[in-house]
């Protein structure tokens, strides 16, 4: 009975809140530590309990929440509609920030603040969609290739090597040239096609590591099926690195969209995106810095928020760090 103190403390809490310990705990959420000790929640449930108490997660979630709101309902943040050409006056071009134009105006005399707010939607859409597609496609294929080995692995690995050989800018140029028009969806498609092999590789490596672990052999010896081993034992133990890379990639995708817009094959004016704004402001940067700095700052903060979120999620998924 010389056990550690923590479980005993939890025991006391548990006994107080749900009567005799011989009865299975039935009450719903009791919040915090007691809830974790008393109520089975599973991997994701426990991770969520842990996340809620992490300042890093709360900060990143608030930031992402604000940016998402900006993307969904830009009208809440500004009364100016930058898609209406009448709001831009060429005579007001490259003004410094003022009470009227918080972030100043750009080369066309449009309000930079309004454009930044409205640009969130396209930039986030490209970043999020590309990330989701690469994680799902690359992750699943990596899981299968790593787990099965043999010819599926050989085939998929050779295919990804072909993609790695294509310089990404040239590849994206080529794909987008086929589509002729640059929209959110064609840019997402081009980026996803070129980026999934990276996720695939990371997932495959993590799966191969996890596959040879003793607990996978033990699970098999105790009668777990292949599917169960794949999704319950291997996936949760190899997803962490993919999540981290995905959150970093999210920022890379938003920036890549900016690069493609700059090259003239990405999202095109009159659409607004942070990348496009940065590209537009670049030639006159020395005369007017604000049309470049503000969307760039928003881009950086968004990327930072997602990276923080990824870090927090990864830590929460590792029970040893709780």
């Amino acid at each position: 009975m010389s056990d550690t103190a923590a479980p005993r403390a939890r025991h006391a809490k548990h006994a107080r809140s749900s009567g005799p310990p011989s009865k299975p705990p039935a009450g719903p959420s009791r919040g915090g530590r007691a809830a974790r000790g008393a109520k089975p929640a599973g991997l994701w449930g426990d991770a969520w309990q842990d996340l809620r108490r992490r300042p890093l997660f709360i900060a990143s979630a608030v930031l992402i929440g604000v940016i998402l709101l900006m993307a969904v309902a830009p009208g809440l943040f500004t009364s100016v509609d930058p898609y209406d050409a009448a709001t831009c006056r060429l005579g007001d071009a490259r003004q410094a920030p003022s009470a009227l134009h918080w972030f100043g105006t750009d080369n066309q005399g449009c309000d930079t603040y309004a454009r930044t707010v409205y640009g969130a939607s396209n930039s986030l859409l490209v970043g999020l969609c590309t990330t989701v597609v690469t994680v799902v496609a690359g992750g699943l294929l990596g899981l299968v290739a790593g787990f099965r080995g043999g010819w599926p692995d050989a085939l998929l690995s050779r295919v990804t090597e072909v993609f790695f050989a294509i310089p990404s800018v040239l590849g994206a140029l080529l794909i987008l040239a086929v589509f002729r028009t640059g929209t959110v969806w064609t840019v997402t498609f081009a980026l996803a096609v070129l980026a999934w092999p990276m996720t695939f590789r990371i997932m495959r490596a993590a799966v191969i590591t996890a596959k040879s672990q003793d607990y996978v052999v033990a699970a098999r010896a105790l009668g777990a099926s292949n599917r169960r081993i794949m999704f319950r034992h291997i996936l949760p133990n190899s997803i962490a690195s993919v999540i981290v890379v995905a959150t970093i990639n999210l920022g890379v995708f938003i920036a890549a969209e900016a690069g493609l817009s700059f090259l003239g094959v990405g999202i095109q004016s009159p659409e607004i995106s942070w990348g496009l704004m940065i590209a537009d402001a670049r030639p006159r940067f020395l005369e007017a810095a604000s049309p470049l700095l503000f969307p760039a700052a928003f881009l950086s903060v968004t990327v930072l928020a997602f990276i923080m979120l990824g870090d927090a999620v990864r830590d929460a998924l590792d029970p040893k760090l709780r």
């Binding site: 005993r8 089975p40 607990y215 105790l222 009668g223 777990a224 169960r228 590792d318 040893k320």
Partner: protein
């Protein structure tokens, strides 16, 4: 009880207490060969191993690393690394059915339910991202389709049974929050969850310190007594074997070199390797004297010597040892020794 001397069957040693005439043993490994294809060539890890196990019996499989003892167990479980491992010959009969001839899905029915396994290092054998409760409960949920709540109640019962203090409170703890001994108890709980008929314990105490080793062995013996299952205890530690095992199989270079009832082995080893193992146990009454060690190194499984695998290290070696591989000589109703000079070894240990 022991009406007639049973014939010495090809698959192993007869059980002197229950006898084997007419009845099929619970588990019988018969002339098992296992090979691994590697870049350097074919590694012959197991070369014609035969042993048998009856219900309620504990068979100790003893041998150093690379002797093939774990590979034999993995072959029984059907968890050998698929592409590299091959079983060119042999049978593994479980209640009369040859497991090696079964289809994979029929085999999966046996795994975990009827034959279960305890691993050496419970920290790495438990999934780090799930609570121990959910891992034990998983056994019931997957194999018996129990509801989450029922499965958890059973998990608590099991944790009590393997003597984990405060089982209910520790249900939602993670493997790394337990000590080594407690983790091994959890591993045992998972293995006995579905009342298997055979439990294979692969070096269950090697990763533990000595006091905990004794507790775990005691627990395994007790669980076995209660359930009447057969147990195969794989170990390289002779000290662990004496108290719990009924009979013993000593393996060297992928072959069985001696099989016997456990007390016979301790009293009079009939193979030079067994003798060497026994003499290399540190003893208080020989304190101050140099510890005995078997000279030389285990054989290279890629390139086995033509004769007896132990010959290069053997103090009893004669000329024919390096050319003729000794068969498993029957040297009594319950014993066998794969040594041409087993008589000399037996005599020598008397003096």
């Amino acid at each position: 009880m022991n009406q007639s001397t049973p014939p010495f069957p090809a698959w192993g040693i007869p059980d002197p207490v229950r006898g084997v005439t007419g009845t099929e043993p619970l588990l019988a490994v018969d002339d098992l060969h296992v090979e691994f294809a590697t870049r350097q060539g074919t590694v012959k890890a197991v070369n014609g191993v035969s042993y048998s196990l009856n219900p309620g019996e504990t068979l100790a499989v003893l041998g150093e690393s690379g002797s093939g003892k774990s590979v034999t167990a993995q072959a029984i479980m059907g968890i050998l690394d698929a592409p590299q491992a091959r079983i060119p010959r042999g049978r593994i009969r479980f209640r009369g059915t040859d497991l090696l001839r079964l289809k994979e899905d029929a085999r999966a029915q046996v795994r975990g339910r009827r034959i279960a396994m305890v691993f050496q290092d419970a920290l790495s054998a438990l999934n780090p991202v799930f609570t121990v409760g959910s891992q034990i409960a998983e056994m019931f949920r997957v194999h018996q389709g129990m509801s989450r709540r029922d499965a958890e109640a059973r998990a608590v019962e099991l944790m009590d049974r393997v003597r984990i203090p405060g089982a209910r409170q520790r249900l939602h703890d993670y493997p790394h929050q337990f000590s080594g001994g407690m983790r091994q108890r959890i591993m045992i709980a998972m293995a006995i969850a579905l009342d298997p008929e055979v439990l294979i314990a692969d070096e269950p105490t090697t990763a533990l310190d000595v006091t905990v080793q004794a507790q775990i062995m005691e627990l395994l013996a007790e669980v076995q007594r209660d359930s009447g299952m057969g147990m195969i205890l794989i170990t390289h530690d002779l000290g662990v074997v004496a108290d719990v095992a009924d009979k013993i199989v000593v393996m060297y270079g992928g072959r069985i070199v001696e099989n016997a009832l456990v007390h016979d082995v301790y009293r009079t080893p009939a193979h030079p390797y067994t003798k060497g193992l026994l003499e290399s146990i540190p003893r208080v009454d020989r304190k101050g004297r140099e510890l005995y060690a078997i000279s030389g190194t285990p054989p290279n499984l890629l390139d086995m010597p033509p004769g007896c695998a132990f010959a290069p290290r053997c103090p009893y070696r004669q000329d024919n040892c390096t050319t003729e591989a000794p068969p498993l000589y029957r040297i009594g109703s319950t014993r066998g020794s794969a040594c041409h000079y087993w008589r000399e070894v037996l005599d020598g240990s008397h003096g």
